[in-house]
């Protein structure tokens, strides 16, 4: 999917985001930043505005450039092109120790030779904060992550989750303008990770701090973020709120990477006011909403979420009704995952909620009616 999109040439720009930006002063402005490592372009002409006090997530697969982007914000890397503004000040060439941002590292990077207290106090010591004030702030930060009673332990005496909190306390105690988080939850087990997701979100609201969070976990991104920047191959594919990204993906990559999606290639055969008639390669004809369809477009890539595919043994009363056969059925607990094949041979993935036990259970080989609502067929690409 990713490489097909490369040539598209319409990366989201600052203008589009600028229009949505209601806050008078953005905390971070990334302007046309490019970073190369040898022949490899890790970050490719990225522009992004991060608002003051928002929780923004950089989401993408490994190697997509999200961590490099974060390192550019922290100052560990210097861009080859473009500039980075922090609270209105150009920090492009400022070293990390002169930037009012702090990072929570993926490996936590706690100093093994220092106690929890000394780790948290490290930044304050570097800023020459008076000892009395520093002590108070250290206790305050440790209390915030519920570790005040562990202050005199060494990092190796703590559990993974506790170390994670120390790393968090160490970063927020400096009162940075922006907190950068590099996959901080990836080393925790599922339960702890979920608890920390909530805790991080609460902490962010409480402090009113701008968070830039890097993750490859789309569920984490959807659960925590005010806005998500979907990154692929060094470029931003889409920026928006969780709902917007999920329901209105703007590129095939965004549709496919976040949640699951059926991607359908369609050619436009007729337009009729607010709707258009399209045909799939196998001949199946569908009606879609044409409001997002550019004038003169000949073909479109459509996306529909598996849970939006309506399935019934009875004839349904929806648009785009057709018959299909269940090729494979997988029981997943809360849902039933169905692989469908239409009479024309189109494959569709559907998720059906298991509402009441065994009622209208679907089986492999069953013939069913499928319906696709107009609004659930999202145009992710059109030419």
């Amino acid at each position: 999917m990713a490489h097909e999109l490369r040539g598209e040439g319409t990366p989201p720009t600052i203008d589009r985001l600028g229009g949505m930006n209601v806050h008078p002063s953005p905390m971070i402005e990334i302007r046309g930043v490019t970073k190369r490592f040898g022949a490899f372009t890790a970050v490719d002409n990225v522009s992004l505005v991060i608002r003051t006090g928002e929780f923004l997530t950089l989401l993408g697969p490994s190697g997509c450039g999200k961590t490099t982007l974060l390192r550019l914000l922290a100052g560990f890397e210097t861009p080859d092109e473009g500039s980075v503004l922090l609270d209105g000040q150009d920090v492009t060439h400022l070293p990390p120790y002169r930037r009012s941002v702090n990072q929570v590292f993926q490996s936590y990077a706690l100093f093994p030779h220092l106690s929890v207290r000394a780790n948290v106090g490290f930044g304050l010591r570097m800023q020459s904060v008076p000892a009395a004030e520093a002590d108070g702030r250290i206790v305050e930060a440790l209390t915030m992550v519920s570790l005040a009673d562990q202050a005199d332990k060494m990092p190796h005496q703590l559990s993974g989750g506790q170390r994670q909190r120390v790393a968090l306390a160490r970063a927020i105690v400096c009162r940075p303008k922006v907190l950068l988080l590099d996959e901080p939850l990836s080393a925790l087990d599922a339960k702890l990770r979920y608890a920390m997701q909530l805790e991080l979100k609460h902490l962010q609201r409480k402090l009113g701090l701008t968070f830039v969070f890097v993750t490859h976990d789309q569920e984490e991104a959807l659960a925590m973020s005010d806005r998500i920047a979907v990154i692929n191959a060094g470029r931003i594919e889409q920026v928006g709120g969780a709902m917007e990204i999920y329901h209105k993906p703007r590129t095939a990559f965004a549709a496919d990477f976040i949640g699951q999606a059926n991607l359908l290639n369609a050619s436009i055969i007729a337009r009729n006011g607010a709707t258009a008639r399209v045909r799939l390669p196998d001949g199946l004809e569908l009606t879609i909403s044409s409001t997002a369809l550019p004038a003169g477009a000949m073909s479109a890539l459509l996306s529909i979420r598996p849970e939006k595919v309506c399935i019934s043994k009875q004839r349904l009363d929806t648009e785009n009704l057709f018959e299909a056969r269940i090729e494979e059925e997988t029981f997943q607990g809360a849902t039933d995952s169905l692989q469908l094949v239409t009479d024309q041979g189109t494959r569709l993935h559907a998720l059906v909620a298991n509402e009441s036990a065994m009622q209208e259970a679907f089986h492999e080989g069953d013939r069913v009616w499928c319906g696709l609502h107009l609004d659930d067929l999202v145009i992710v690409q059109a030419e």
Binding site: A74, G75, F76, P95, P96, Y97, V101, N102, Q103, F105, Q106, S107, A109, L110, F111, P112, H113, F122, G123, R125, M126, Q127, R170, A171, C174
Partner: protein, 266 residues
């Protein structure tokens, strides 16, 4: 392993200990008695001065090795993995040549009409050749040259394990290069420095070949004195007594360093 230690470490040390309480006869044989005479002689100011001098030379050698070896070791540890191995090989290449041959090479470099003086003269840095060989400077040069790899390798060992993200975290928290160095890099590579110090300081006290060859036997070290007692003076018991005191010094130094190392890493 235990047998090996018994045969080659414990037994010789015991023999040395026994000899140190004996007396020497007219022709250099050993008379088995119990006497503290040898230890009384060891405490003679002449020998104490030699002990002190040996420790001074070894201390200076260690200091120079730390100052010169640390940047080298750190640089190697931060290089690309492939380049790292090449650089490490370069550190170890001198070991492929006999130690004596390398010392003689230094003599040709440092002597009156040697390589260094030739260069200095031809570039008009000096108007007449420097007398470098057979001076304390030459001894220090020889000692530093001989022991530098023993400092570089252990420091490299601990620097290589130093996680880059710890240095980044220090920078991130407002530490400039110097502060990051003094408060993160140095403390975390201290075990390497301690090991290197031990590997350089202790053998450098007892070194006699370099002091003989490059110092012209003009500034005797404790190693030279012991060697002389056994070979020239044929006073084995006194040589043994010097050796026992010397070993005790080793042990004390080692214990002190070890305690310090434990406190810092524990």
């Amino acid at each position: 392993m235990v047998l090996w230690l018994l045969a080659f470490v414990v037994a010789p040390a015991l023999i040395l200990l026994v000899y140190s309480f004996c007396e020497r006869d007219e022709v250099g044989g050993v008379i088995f008695t119990f006497s503290l005479e040898n230890f009384r002689r060891v405490l003679d100011p002449v020998y104490l001065r030699i002990f002190a001098r040996s420790m001074g030379y070894a201390g200076l050698t260690t200091l120079i090795c730390v100052v010169a070896g640390y940047p080298a070791a750190y640089f190697i540890s931060r290089a690309e993995p492939r380049r790292r191995h090449q650089l490490l090989l370069l550190v170890m290449v001198p070991f492929w040549t006999s130690f004596l041959i390398r010392t003689y090479a230094w003599i040709t470099i440092l002597k009156q009409e040697g390589l260094l003086n030739g260069l200095l003269l031809s570039f008009n840095v000096v108007s007449e050749p420097l007398s470098l060989l057979y001076t304390p400077t030459a001894v220090i040069i020889g000692l530093v040259y001989a022991y530098l790899p023993f400092m570089i390798l252990p420091i490299y060992g601990s620097a290589e394990k130093l996680d880059q993200s710890l240095i980044e975290a220090a920078h991130d928290l407002g530490a400039g290069p110097l502060r990051a160095f003094s408060s993160v890099i140095i403390p975390l590579t201290l075990p390497g420095i301690a090991a290197g110090t031990l590997l350089v300081f202790v053998p450098a006290i007892g070194m006699f070949a370099i002091t003989d060859l490059m110092g012209g036997a003009k500034v005797p070290m404790i190693g030279n004195v012991i060697q002389n007692q056994f070979l020239q003076a044929r006073d084995w018991p006194f040589g043994a007594a010097l050796g026992v005191v010397f070993m005790l010094l080793f042990a004390v130094t080692y214990a002190l360093l070890q305690r310090r190392g434990n406190r810092l890493t524990g």
